[in-house]
């Protein structure tokens, strides 16, 4: 299958912000897709009844799961912000190199800020379970 020429390989292709953000968009997309399993777990537990919901709530409040939830929330905000960046590109806007870099840094900053905002809010709420 590999008799045809291959494009430059990862080891010799110098990563740039734009290419790293591009592959991160895919990686976060796949991670979020897998993460829907957790969302479904929560939702079906709520549909099952009070006992099932309490059990699921316990699992989702575990420390290890919490770390995963923080990672997922960053992945979500990243995919959301970078997705909006892609939608502007689809409309033909922001392709200039300088602007592509500026929007890239803006995506990283806003995704991280939104993640921090969410978790500061959640963890400082009285009786916080999450």
């Amino acid at each position: 299958m590999t008799t045809r020429p291959l494009s430059p390989h990862l080891q010799i292709y110098r990563p740039q912000l734009t290419s790293v953000l591009s592959i991160t968009h895919r990686a976060t997309g796949v991670a979020l897709s897998l993460g829907t399993v957790v969302l479904l777990y929560w939702l079906q537990a709520a549909a099952r009844g009070e006992a099932a919901y309490a059990a699921a709530h316990g699992v989702l409040s575990l420390g290890a799961v919490k770390v995963l939830l923080v990672a997922w929330s960053w992945a979500f905000f990243y995919h959301l912000c970078n997705g909006i960046r892609h939608l502007f590109w689809d409309a033909g806007m922001g392709f200039e190199l300088g602007r592509a870099y500026a929007s890239g840094y803006a995506v990283l900053a806003s995704a991280s800020a939104l993640t921090a905002l969410v978790w500061v809010y959640v963890l400082t709420q009285a009786g916080g379970v999450a």
């Binding site: 299958m1 897709s33 829907t36 479904l40 549909a47 919901y53 969410v118 379970v129 999450a130």
Partner: protein, 127 residues
Amino acid sequence: MSLRSDLGRVKGLGSAKAGVHHWRLQRLTALALVPLSLWFVASLMCVFKASHAEVVQWVAQPHVTVLLLALSIALFWHLTLGVQVVIEDYVRTPWKQVVGQVLLRAGAGLGGLLAVVSILKISLGLN
């Protein structure tokens, strides 16, 4: 009957016009998911701490039910389109490609159905 030349007709018709179907749906579902997912995450921040009864009460409101159903459909649709391309790009063995695409659709289809049924069950007070 048309008096246009074959070349003129082909130029006028362009492509089969189905080539952008996948691309367009990916963008449309993305556009829908921007407000829906932001609303859902904001709601989840409040709802996750609530009791089961409160969660049920929240889901059962008609506008919440509708938005949750719309979110579920857009989410699993968007996810299928996205992961489909990832499998197309990185899985090189033909039979694994087919198996991957089938499993993706089976998983996303079942996941989407589970979400929709769970939401409806809560909303219609069947639990």
